[in-house]
Amino acid sequence: MSADAPIIATDALVKHFPTGRSLFGRRRVVQAVNGVDLHVSPGETLALVGESGCGKTTTARVVLGLERPTGGGLRYHGTPVEALDSEARARFRRRVQVVFQDSNASLNPRKTLREILTTALVVSGTIPSRARARLRERVAQLLDDVGLSPAASFLDRLPHELSGGQRQRVGIARALAPEPELVIADEPVSALDISVRAQVLELMARIQRERGVAFLLISHDLAVVRHVAARVAVMYLGRIIEEGPVDAVFGNPIHPYTAALVDATPLPDPRPEVRKRGHLDVSGDVPSPIDLPSGCAFHPRCPIAVAHCRETVPLLATPTGGADLGGHRVACHRADERVAGLELPITPSAGATAASQAPPTKESPA
């Protein structure tokens, strides 16, 4: 294990789920994750965004070791997880923690907060069960850290005696118990109301600032991501299609899908002058991950797709011809053109003219 390696890194991670057979006995699989490379370095926040079914949660589950990958690998501090010795594996289990979306389902309804947090400390091997005094002190400290104070008034409560926001704080406290270096947070604020969401996000930001914990944030909410993450990877049908610093990716999206996501996100500002946007209107629904479209999986919905997009899967790469993009990478055959500032027609009706500019054959969009 090397010190400067990312905490976790995935190499061409693949996860397929079998779903029975088709009429003629061909085995069918849901291609949930289809070759994902990502890494999280100490102290950073990487966000994985995308719509339902894009594979972001499956990716997180593989990283957590809750799912075995179908292909590709996962490295912990540079060492493939299969090659970790038992001590290193235990450290991986302890130092990589998770916060789930539904705190109602992820906390044992029959255990008090004291029991929940004590269990987390003991099972992870952070504090031995015989060190009663230390456990008591640490549990109170954890509740205090996540803003459930005075701790004494919360220790003996059951999860149902808390509000949604308070329960999510308990989820965070439990994740923090083993002193993790990475917390994977799967939609941690999606179930919360605005006022409570702000409280929880503020808490997460403080934890990161004070403890240098890295976060892998799984979210469908671009606005949340923009506010808490430094780097973002956008997923579509099992692949990362754009990745880079949040300001670059959301401020200047290159992939047409990212542009559509940014455009579709409602802005909390009714003034007409701020509301003028590109209106990159992506039509239709996300296709089934069982029958993935050929080539670029986004091509059937893409307003600027050309024939090439149907044939070849674009790889995540730094577009050429642009200025220094600061690690901004895109998986789009037309990325170079978009970066070069070509005014590409971005309305579906203009797709036909777009097709004529690009190699190799002409086509008219259906």
């Binding site: 719509e51 339902s52 509000s163 949604g164 926001g165 308070q166 109301d193 605005i194 006022s195 409570v196 969401r197 702000a198 409280q199 996000l201 503020e202 930001a205 469908h220 909410d221 671009l222 606005a223 949340v224 923009r226 506010h227 808490v228 949040v246 300001d247 959301f250 559509a260 996501l261 940014v262 455009d263 579709a264 996100t265 409602p266 802005l267 909390p268 500002d269 009714p270 003034r271 701020v274 209107d281 992506v282 039509s283 629904d285 996300v286």
Partner: protein
């Protein structure tokens, strides 16, 4: 009561009042006590106007919507006071069959989870036809169904499909088509895009906005999402713990929120294009309505709380184009010597 009072804040369209709620109170009785999720709510919707009701969970915004047609998710809920005037007629006094004729015909609803309220064993076309038949509009129903489906951006072939064969976005389009089937004057949409992905949400919002314009509908939109409010509403009511705390034209609400709760809500909204440090402006969480706080219901969480707030209920007071219920404004007005 047939004469409607002058509208205190004219709608964007300045049209006639289509719907007026006067001091509506809805109660849910259970073994654990009585709860009033809607407590003295008054609101108006004008012809051709999009009115938003925004609030967090438990604010009573959806129960307010259900109170209009008295379609509640639980039998224990009942409107116990107030008036629901539809074009001047009080819906609360109607007999069940008369009310049934209003539902779908004059006032239609769109729900959050379209996939679950569509009948799973009937084709989409059959369901919309049923609706037309129920309101004696069976003649030419098939043609009308095709027309409705086209209007919401679906192909007429969708009529032969079952709900499970459609995506969430398509189901919601079917829900909208079915709401429009009898050309209602008012559509109530309860979180119509909350269950949808963001690109699909944008499609559905754009569709709703287009249909609202084309059919000159009055639309009452219930949502928790201030982004959606900014996107489509003309005028907004903000609800907190069963009561309206602020009402304003949408641009005024975002530019100069008056009530500390609205201010806190807006401070907590994250703008994708305008990142700022996250600030949790409102502490705590929504109160238990079995035992609501005395005085102003927001006072235990309010950063500007004064002694008076815990004892006296603040009335909604009009200042400029905004009405808000907060004692602070009284103080401000008094110190400036302006009468309230």
């Amino acid at each position: 009561m047939t004469a409607s009072p002058p509208a205190r804040s004219p709608g964007a369209s300045g049209g006639d009042v289509v719907l007026e709620l006067r001091a509506v109170t809805t109660e849910i009785r259970s073994t654990r006590g009585r709860v009033r999720p809607v407590d003295g709510v008054s609101l108006t919707v004008h012809a051709g106007e999009v009115v938003g009701v925004v609030g967090e969970s438990g604010s009573g915004k959806s129960m307010t919507a259900f109170s209009v047609l008295q379609l509640f998710p639980t039998k224990a809920a009942r409107v116990i006071a107030g008036e629901v005037l539809l074009a001047g007629r009080d819906l609360l006094t109607l007999r069940p069959e008369a009310l049934r004729r209003v539902r779908g015909r004059e006032v239609a609803m769109i729900f959050q989870d379209a996939a679950s309220y569509l009948n799973p064993v009937l084709t989409v076309g059959a369901q919309i036809e049923q609706q037309l038949q129920a309101h004696d509009m069976a003649r030419g129903a098939q043609v009308r169904v095709a027309e409705l489906l086209r209007d919401v951006g679906l192909t007429p072939e969708v009529a032969k499909r079952y709900p499970h064969e459609l995506s969430g976005g398509q189901c919601q389009r079917v829900g909208i088509a079915s709401a429009l089937a009898c050309s209602p004057a008012l559509v109530i949409a309860d979180e119509p895009t909350t269950a949808l992905d963001v690109t699909i949400q944008a499609q559905v919002l754009r569709l709703l906005a287009r249909l609202q314009r084309e059919h000159d509908l009055a639309l009452l939109l219930i949502t928790h999402d201030l982004g959606v409010v900014a996107e489509v509403c003309d005028r907004v009511y903000v609800m907190y713990a069963g009561q309206i705390v602020e009402e304003a034209p949408v641009e005024r609400l975002f530019a100069e929120p008056q009530h500390p709760y609205t201010q806190g809500l807006l401070a907590g909204v994250l703008d994708l294009l305008d990142p700022k440090p996250i600030q949790a402006a409102i502490k705590g969480s929504v109160p238990d309505l079995r035992d609501p706080p005395s005085g102003c219901r927001f006072h235990p969480r309010c950063p500007h709380v004064m002694p008076r707030c815990s004892s006296d209920v603040p009335p909604l007071v009009l200042r400029g184009e905004t009405r808000s219920a907060c004692w602070l404004h009284d103080e401000a007005d008094a110190s400036q010597g302006t009468p309230t």
